[in-house]
């Protein structure tokens, strides 16, 4: 290792000429072939979305064939039909309430629990709690799905409130894992200084630590948002009242009615995907960096 390193070191030092030539061979900075290849591959992402858009704008008799052609006669009413059929305002509001509730509560509570655990890892009780929560990462949801559905029904939590609660509780395992890792990197000197100034533990957490957690809060917030908004299984088994159905759930419930009316179905799919897609388009970098941080920690 060390010999090859020194060898290349001397090589670079000695011959300054070959280096630019080698670079020149693969293009002056930009590899256009690779760019073209990746752009073509990106079409695989675009095709299903393009297909959804053109289908949502057709009349039913324009369907048939491969379906990739542009609509000859645009029918905007498909969106109105889908809007009415799935009761879009209510459904979207349900999804929004559940997602916002889950994100806000998760950020406020999970970070606090992680803080208490991270700063007391030397105590056996807190260390035990840490492993207790994190071990849930190994318990897949299908295993507890039957009893949880029963339990929430008994407790009258088979509704939006119950769903929010479950997202907050089931998020604990992963969130504590990444929050504690981050909190451990925050020096304790700040808290000690605040404690000497007479701040209580609560005040220290909310005023000193919580603001410092901003990057991790972004990560956890994004991941919770994507999860709660797009989740299908948990709403499917928990929600009993059709009036509190979320957007993915309602697509499932209305499948039988869509069967005869594909354009309205696709309009409905687009409307279900649109809110998060629009947010993503504007907050793209922020979302990607947030997700990356969560996985790398």
């Amino acid at each position: 290792m060390s010999t090859s390193a020194s060898e290349t070191g001397t090589l670079v030092g000695r011959t300054s000429e070959p280096t630019p030539r080698r670079k020149g061979r693969s293009g002056p900075g930009v590899n256009w072939w690779l760019t073209a290849l990746l752009s073509v591959l990106a079409l695989t992402i675009a095709i299903p979305l393009y297909f959804a858009v053109v289908t949502a704008l057709k009349t039913t008799d324009q369907l048939g064939g491969t379906g990739f052609g542009l609509p000859t006669d645009i029918r905007w009413e498909n969106f109105a039909d889908a809007w009415r059929l799935t009761d879009f305002p209510t459904t979207a509001l349900n999804s929004a309430i559940i997602t916002v509730g889950a994100v806000v509560l998760t950020l406020l509570t999970n970070s606090m629990v992680a803080y208490a655990i991270a700063r007391n890892m030397n105590r056996r009780l807190f260390k035990g709690l840490y492993f207790y929560f994190v071990s849930a990462l190994f318990v897949p949801f299908p295993i507890i799905m039957l009893p949880v559905a029963k339990e929430t029904a008994i407790l009258n939590l088979d509704n939006r409130v119950g769903l929010i609660l479950l997202y907050v509780v089931y998020g604990l395992a992963f969130n504590i894992f990444i929050f504690t890792a981050y909190i451990n990197s925050i020096p304790q000197a700040l808290e000690e200084a605040a404690a000497i100034d007479g701040a209580s533990t609560w005040a220290i957490f909310w005023r000193v630590i919580f603001p410092l957690l901003a990057p991790m809060n972004a990560t956890v917030g994004i991941l919770t948002c994507l999860w709660a908004w797009n989740d299908f299984l948990l709403p499917l088994v928990i929600l009993s009242d059709p009036g509190s159905a979320t957007l993915p759930l309602v697509q499932y419930v209305f499948q039988s009615q869509f069967q005869t009316n594909y354009p309205a179905a696709f309009a409905s799919y687009l409307m279900a995907m649109a809110p998060l897609l629009i947010v993503y388009v504007f907050a793209q970098r922020w979302v990607i960096s947030g997700v990356t941080r969560g996985a790398v920690k």
């Binding site: 290349t8 080698r22 930009v30 690779l34 760019t35 990746l38 591959l41 990106a42 695989t44 992402i45 299903p48 297909f51 289908t55 048939g64 491969t66 379906g67 509570t109 629990v113 803080y115 208490a116 655990i117 700063r119 807190f126 709690l129 190994f138 318990v139 897949p140 299908p142 295993i143 507890i144 039957l146 009893p147 949880v148 339990e151 907050v168 509780v169 604990l172 404690a195 000497i196 533990t201 609560w202 797009n230 299908f232 299984l233 957007l247 993915p248 697509q251 499932y252 179905a265 696709f266 799919y269 995907m273 998060l276 897609l277 993503y280 793209q284 979302v287 997700v291 996985a295 790398v296």
Partner: protein
């Protein structure tokens, strides 16, 4: 520090005292911080786990009284063709999808990490599937597989594809894998990209000077350097795909018959609709053991490889 030896014991004592006092006072607040979380977690996670295990020893249909049947559910599971098929089908999809997702994601991530134009834009496009609901995307793919693809195949004269992939289990699994790869490559690409950015560019420059081929560079530099990211992605992908549910609901609903049921779908259908609450609880317990077992074995193998390279 060392020159202040006489002062040191004083500050030490001065610091220790508030710390001890703080320790006693703070502990109360810390307990309050974790107590509600502990209670809720116990009620909504641990109790269901215990309940699930309890029901697995009963013949409960999901309501009304139930009798204790000992290990009968577990014994029956191992001879139930529907259950065995669901496991086989789940393993097939999970294995193929995990491998394909990681190959595709790694290849695209390496491309995106290259000297390309529109780097951020392309990265943004490749991540889109991760913000979409699998179920909804699945319905779009369902239409593509059952209507567009056969029509396209007919035009091109490919007889093998002229009937929908989704009508037979022997081809439906391919459609399910395609949807799974399309949807999860997005996440894995981002992780690999983060990993690739940790590899110092000097290493490639050095390898270039030594005349190493691109494949050789990948094998000797890139892959060893991102082995940890490879492990994360493999473990997360496999764990996710073993629980596959949404994809199958959207594409086949488990059909034709029960030919494309995954374990998670079988537990759902049997437990909620089929009156097999106790029986499927036993299935859940077995499924749990299988998933934990897989995760441990996989982590062990991949970690050992990481050390070797």
């Amino acid at each position: 520090m060392t020159t202040q030896t006489p002062v040191r014991p004083q500050t030490r004592a001065g610091r220790e005292e508030p710390q001890r006092k703080k320790g006693v006072r703070l502990a109360g607040a810390f307990y309050l911080m974790v107590l509600p979380a502990f209670v809720l977690f116990f009620v909504f996670h641990t109790i269901p786990v215990i309940q699930g295990v309890y029901y697995s020893f009963t013949d409960s249909p999901g309501y009304g009284p139930a009798d204790f049947v000992g290990l009968r559910n577990y014994i029956a599971l191992f001879t139930d063709p529907r259950v065995l098929h669901a496991y086989w089908f789940t393993f097939l999809i999970a294995a193929v999808a995990t491998i394909l997702v990681n190959i595709v994601a790694l290849a695209i991530a390496i491309g995106l990490n290259g000297r390309i134009k529109f780097k951020n834009g392309l990265r943004g496009i490749y991540f889109i599937p991760n913000v979409l609901a699998i179920l909804v995307v699945g319905y779009i793919f369902n239409y593509l597989f059952s209507n567009s693809l056969p029509a396209l195949a007919e035009k091109l004269g490919i007889d093998a594809l002229s009937t929908s992939l989704l009508t037979k289990a022997s081809t439906a699994w391919i459609a399910i894998v395609i949807l799974a790869v399309w949807q999860s490559a997005a996440f894995n690409i981002i992780i690999y990209l983060a990993g690739l950015q940790t590899v110092p560019t000097e290493m490639y420059e050095a390898a270039n000077l030594d005349g190493a081929s691109a494949w050789r560079q990948f094998r000797s530099i890139t892959f060893p350097m991102i082995a940890g990211f490879f492990t994360i992605n493999m473990v997360l992908s496999l764990k996710g795909f073993l629980q596959i549910f949404d994809h199958i609901v959207a594409l086949t609903g488990g059909g034709p018959g029960t030919d494309t049921e995954s374990v998670a779908l079988l537990i759902y259908k049997g437990g909620f609709q089929g009156g097999e609450y106790g029986y499927q609880s036993a299935n859940s317990v077995i499924f749990f053991i299988v998933i934990v077992g897989f995760s441990i074995v996989q982590l062990r193998v991949l970690r050992r490889r990481e050390v070797e390279v």
